[in-house]
């Protein structure tokens, strides 16, 4: 569980805003998104998406000599490749498999938690306002005034059919 104080939430949000405003491929690492360095967005890009299964370029751009050898072997019959080699070839071209892409994250907990924190802060502010800012309420809100008001409403038989007076038992002098 994350123990977020106000200060850390503040810096967390500042990070998110900065990340959103800078390069589109930058993501926060805290929720499993991979962080990419500032990428040249005018070049063919790689990205994992179930909507776009084959992105513009291969995932690994620079290949080791080991990888080059494998790529050469790929030109021959594929049944000569072992399972590991096939997997290695897949990982050269792609970062995440479909199942990895479709993994749920715990981000919703952070979002909901942050919402509650802000609601709580708002509640505190409203409470402080009540104590220090709002003037005294009008005298018509006093309990004594309200009781006399209700008495007057009943005596004048206000809303006697369906409303307040219909709920008062005039014989017994109490609510029905």
């Amino acid at each position: 569980m994350l123990h977020l104080t106000t200060g850390r939430v503040g810096s967390l949000l500042a990070q998110r805003v900065t990340a959103a405003l800078t390069s589109s491929s930058v993501r926060m690492a805290s929720h499993g998104h991979e962080v990419a360095a500032n990428e040249d967005l005018s070049q063919p890009m790689y990205w994992d998406s179930t909507n776009v299964p084959l992105p513009d370029r291969r995932y690994k751009v620079t290949l080791s000599s080991e990888d080059e050898r494998l790529k050469q072997k790929e030109k021959g019959p594929w049944d000569q490749l072992s399972k590991e080699e096939k997997l290695a070839l897949y990982r050269l071209s792609f970062s995440q498999t479909f199942s990895e892409m479709n993994q749920p994250s715990a981000e919703w907990k952070t979002v909901v938690g942050t919402i509650f924190i802000f609601l709580g802060l708002t509640g505190l502010i409203v409470w402080w306002q009540k104590v220090y800012v709002f003037p005294k309420p009008p005298r018509t809100f006093d309990d004594e005034w309200q009781a006399k008001q209700l008495q007057r409403m009943l005596e004048m038989r206000m809303n006697p059919i369906e409303g307040i007076s219909s709920k008062w038992d005039y014989e017994k002098g109490q609510w029905k």
Binding site: P55, E74, W78, K83, K86, L89, Y90, S93, F98, E100
Partner: protein, 141 residues
């Protein structure tokens, strides 16, 4: 709603003549208020031809696949077969496996489509030596 009504009127006579035995791949054509509606067979044939181009290049393969996956349907086995053969011509095994993952993902909650697809593609998979994502263990985390 209006599109459905006018489509019915425009193609009503045609549909009466053609009786489809079973429900094949869903239609991926637009519902024009006028104009010809492409049949499933025409759609399939068009895509098979696209991937069958002998000198297809990587861009065309990617463009074709990404477009096909954008449609609201699971491609017929013959289209996937054509695409896998295109991967072979391009010496791209990774894309072949990716294509299989993608069509499985397209089937969504309909869990019986992908096994059928693999069953139909089995001869091609053995011929070209393509392993399915399941065989490689990448279908689960």
């Amino acid at each position: 709603m209006f599109r459905a009504v006018s489509r019915l009127s425009a193609t009503a006579s045609r549909n009466l003549v053609q009786s489809r035995a079973g429900y094949s791949a869903p239609l991926a054509s637009r519902c024009y208020s006028h104009g010809k509606v492409e049949s499933d067979e025409e759609f399939d044939a068009r895509w098979v031809t696209y991937f069958s181009k002998p000198d297809i290049d990587g861009w065309e393969l990617r463009k074709g696949m990404n477009t096909l996956i954008g449609y609201d349907l699971v491609p017929e086995p013959k289209i996937v077969d054509s695409a896998l053969r295109a991967c072979r011509r391009l010496n791209d095994l990774a894309s072949a496996i990716r294509i299989l993952e993608a069509v499985k993902d397209k089937a969504g909650p309909h869990k019986d489509i992908y096994p059928y697809l693999i069953q139909e593609l089995r001869p091609t998979l053995t011929e070209l030596g393509i392993s399915t994502p399941e065989e490689l263990g990448i279908d689960r985390m």
